[in-house]
């Protein structure tokens, strides 16, 4: 195998301003692998907020700037599915009437990778030597899953984290209700969608939720915090950079209520005895199995 290419970091504005620890985790992951990193310090935003709201002229300002800054990079890696989706797919739409930039956008799109995609598909590594104790569930962010069709890669990485167990929530690929400005413009609809997501997380009894897009994770953790649910929310980079059995030791992620990070090693609900599945009739997924049990907890549908 040839030596891995040097990586240019594309750090989304949300990570830069609210969650720099996620960016640091990315740095640690690649430093441990001995890959040389650079970070163009004049980068700001890829333009997605404006583009998704329909303000294409404003998005163009961000996009042309992005292309100017990153054009000479050999490989660009970003810890966000939606920002990579923006660069890889939406730039083509944005520049469709500007031929010179369109060609440049195509080139940039082809060398911009989402973190887990880059690790698994390009570097072909899954075991990063990470350690983390607890039950983890993975939330599929929409732009990762539907936009970039990335859902296997993060799971393969999580499965190789020592000490943790990946448990699947019901409908992990269902939108959490973030949707950028949607969460602010239509808070009631967004809340109703988020409640479903939170419900499937709580029902599962996992101590930690992991995802690949800070927007969704900010949304999920925002409600978990408001409802005082002792469930930790981590970006997958934080999990993969973790070398401690407990996240607390590295000071990662969100704290539960009153600052403690709780990791129930047993699920909230005991797994059902074998055979009970059939007694519910035509049941083939976990929620349905849980539903009758958790109604007594007030968590059923």
């Amino acid at each position: 195998m040839t030596a891995p290419k040097p990586i240019t970091l594309f750090i989304p504005c949300l990570v830069d301003t609210f969650f720099p620890e996620v960016g640091e985790a990315v740095v640690r992951i690649f430093q441990r692998m001995g890959i040389s990193l650079s970070y163009p310090s004049d980068q700001t935003c890829c333009g997605q907020p404006a583009y998704n709201s329909g303000y294409r002229n404003e998005a163009l300002i961000a996009a042309t700037r992005f292309i100017d800054i990153f054009e000479n990079a050999e490989t660009i890696v970003c810890p966000s599915g939606s920002c990579v989706h923006m660069v890889r797919h939406h730039y083509l739409e944005l520049f469709r009437n500007e031929n010179s930039y369109l060609k440049r956008a195509e080139k940039i799109g082809a060398k911009t990778f989402e973190l887990t995609e880059y690790l698994v598909d390009i570097l072909q590594v899954t075991d990063l030597g990470a350690e983390f104790n607890g039950r983890i569930t993975y939330h599929d962010s929409c732009h990762l899953r539907y936009g970039l069709e990335i859902s296997e890669q993060p799971r393969r990485l999580i499965e190789k984290v020592h000490g943790c167990r990946l448990v699947e929530m019901d409908e992990s690929g269902r939108c959490c209700g973030f949707g950028g400005s949607f969460a602010v413009k239509y808070p009631e609809i967004s809340t109703a969608m988020l409640e479903d997501k939170i419900k499937s997380i709580i029902t599962l009894g996992a101590g930690t939720v992991v995802g690949g897009d800070m927007g969704c994770l900010m949304n999920i953790s925002g409600m978990l915090n408001r409802r005082r649910q002792p469930i930790e929310v981590l970006h997958i980079a934080q999990l993969l950079a973790s070398r401690q059995p407990s996240a607390k030791a590295e000071g990662l992620g969100f704290k539960g209520p009153r600052g403690q990070v709780t990791e129930p090693d047993k699920p909230f609900l005991e797994p059902l005895p074998p055979g009970i599945l059939e007694s519910f009739g035509d049941v083939n997924n976990q929620t349905k199995v849980f539903a009758p049990t958790c109604r007594s907890f007030g968590a059923g549908r």
């Binding site: 609210f18 720099p20 303000y55 690929g173 209700g177 808070p187």
Partner: protein, 476 residues
């Protein structure tokens, strides 16, 4: 044209958000049909990639619509049918009424059709004193309740068994029951009488075929076949985009339609209708009319950005996976078409400005595109509609959005255009957030216009140091 209520999206959505019964019904529907469709695509002998072939097939037809429609009309006429091209919904309704009056029609039975919902055909017929009976069970329930469908293929999904039992007791005079088979039997009995005494049948059209000059309809209850064969006159109304070139295309498209709509391999009834009954034939009407409806579709066809939406075959697969639809139901969309397809087609047919909330009240998650049997890129078109709303577009008669949002976006574009401005703004924002109530390290309340966020969620404050600052200090 049916009544347009797209402006009331927020109000209607709010109402639906409180309706737990609706949520349970839609959750069940999505669990069954949404997941079922995905499994059905995977089980296709040609593989799920058949959807992309179907997409090409649909777009080819749309690109040659003029020739295909002309050929279709020509062949229908040769088969003894009559064809009317209607520019608007009103023209279509007027033509149908004219035919009805000529035959002194007193009673019409209808096969389930969304396009007749679009043009408000029932209301106009009732106004003209012609009894119009919906023959699809769901549509029949909705008609008795004097409501509109809330789902393209499951129109009464928002109603409970109990509500339907009470409705039937009141309207059909049967003793109250909430037993579905008994209710279905009661509807069947009532409808059988209508079928046998109707003078005219009206149906929609799932797809038409230019090569053979016929239309194809599918149903699971047989109501469309009854409506198109028993009465003396049959009128089929079709959106002008529903034509295909070859009969072969129907094979692929109907297999995909049935999978997308109901996770079936094929609909229970598939009818090929090519004209009136011919001498020697046992069944069929004396007269067959095909109304080909434009009603704004030419304008969509002319816009390369939205042309793709004409490929839609109205299977409702996108409704069966949409997380927003699951919470707000179909009525919030304010027109015949709901869910993701409604989000795109309704503004284009009825006005973009007034349907602003449809275009913006979506998360762009992309589930609809994955579920679409003909791979229509709905999120792309939702984004294109948002662009029209933001910047305005005289061609579509769109006036640009409010000055506040535009102002915010202009400011944003200034901030991100230089790292210096960006860092300076970040500093100001960090100072600003000190004024906000923080509890356990989380912001509890945000000021307008961001207060929607903190209605149900906390927010982590801006970090003391940005990644950029940390990089300069620690990693460079």
């Amino acid at each position: 044209m049916a009544e347009i209520k797209t402006e009331y999206y927020r109000q209607e959505a709010r109402k639906a958000l409180k309706n737990k019964v609706l949520h349970a019904a839609l959750a069940g529907l999505q669990e069954r049909l949404g997941k079922g469709a995905a499994a059905a695509y995977r089980a296709l002998p040609e593989g799920p990639g058949l959807r992309y072939e179907a997409h090409k097939m649909r777009m080819q037809a749309i690109d040659h619509l003029d020739i295909l429609l002309e050929t279709l009309a020509d062949r229908i006429c040769k088969n003894g049918g009559q064809v009317f091209f209607a520019d608007t919904g009103e023209d279509a309704v007027e033509y149908c009424l004219k035919v009805a009056r000529r035959h002194q029609v007193k009673r019409v039975v209808k096969g389930k059709s969304m396009v007749t919902e679009e043009i408000g055909l029932n209301e106009s017929f009732e106004k003209a004193g012609i009894e119009t009976v919906e023959a699809d069970l769901g549509e029949y329930i909705i008609q008795l309740a004097d409501e509109h469908p809330s789902h393209i293929i499951a129109p009464a999904i928002h109603k409970t068994r109990k509500e339907i039992g009470e409705l039937f007791a009141r309207k059909l005079g049967i003793p109250f029951t909430d037993d579905p088979p008994t209710l279905t039997q009661a509807a069947r009995k009532a409808l059988r009488e209508k079928f046998l005494s109707a003078d005219m049948g009206i149906s929609g059209c799932n797809l038409a075929c230019a090569e053979t000059g016929h239309i194809t309809t599918v149903s699971n209850e047989g109501n469309i076949r009854m409506a198109s064969t028993l009465p003396r006159v049959h009128i089929a109304v079709m959106g002008m985009e529903r034509v295909t070139a070859r009969l072969m295309d129907h094979d692929i498209l109907f297999r995909l339609l049935a999978r997308g709509a109901a996770a079936q391999n094929m609909a229970t009834y598939v009818s090929y209708i090519g004209g009136p009954r011919r001498p020697g034939q046992a069944d069929g009407p004396d007269e067959f009319h095909l109304v080909i409806l434009d009603n704004g579709r030419t304008r969509i066809l002319a816009d390369p950005e939205f042309r793709e939406i004409l490929g839609c075959i109205r299977c409702a697969a996108c409704l069966n996976v949409c997380p927003v639809y699951a919470k707000i139901g179909g009525h919030a969309y304010g027109f015949a078409y709901s869910g993701p397809i409604g989000t795109v087609i309704t503004p284009l047919l009825t006005g973009i400005n007034r349907a602003r909330d449809l275009c913006q009240g979506e998360t762009l998650c992309g589930a609809c595109r994955e579920a679409c049997p003909v791979d229509i890129d709905l999120p792309r078109m939702i984004l294109a509609l948002r662009a029209k709303l933001a910047e305005g577009d005289p061609a579509w008669g769109v006036t640009p959005a409010g000055r506040m949002e535009k102002g915010m976006m202009t400011t944003w574009s200034k901030i991100i255009s230089s790292r210096e401005y960006y860092d300076r703004s970040l500093k100001i924002a960090r100072l600003g957030q000190k004024l906000l109530p923080i509890k356990n390290g989380m912001i509890r309340h945000l000021p307008p216009p961001f207060n929607g966020w903190t209605q149900s969620r906390d927010l982590k404050p801006l970090a003391a140091k940005s990644f950029n600052e940390l990089w300069q200090k620690k990693y460079r």
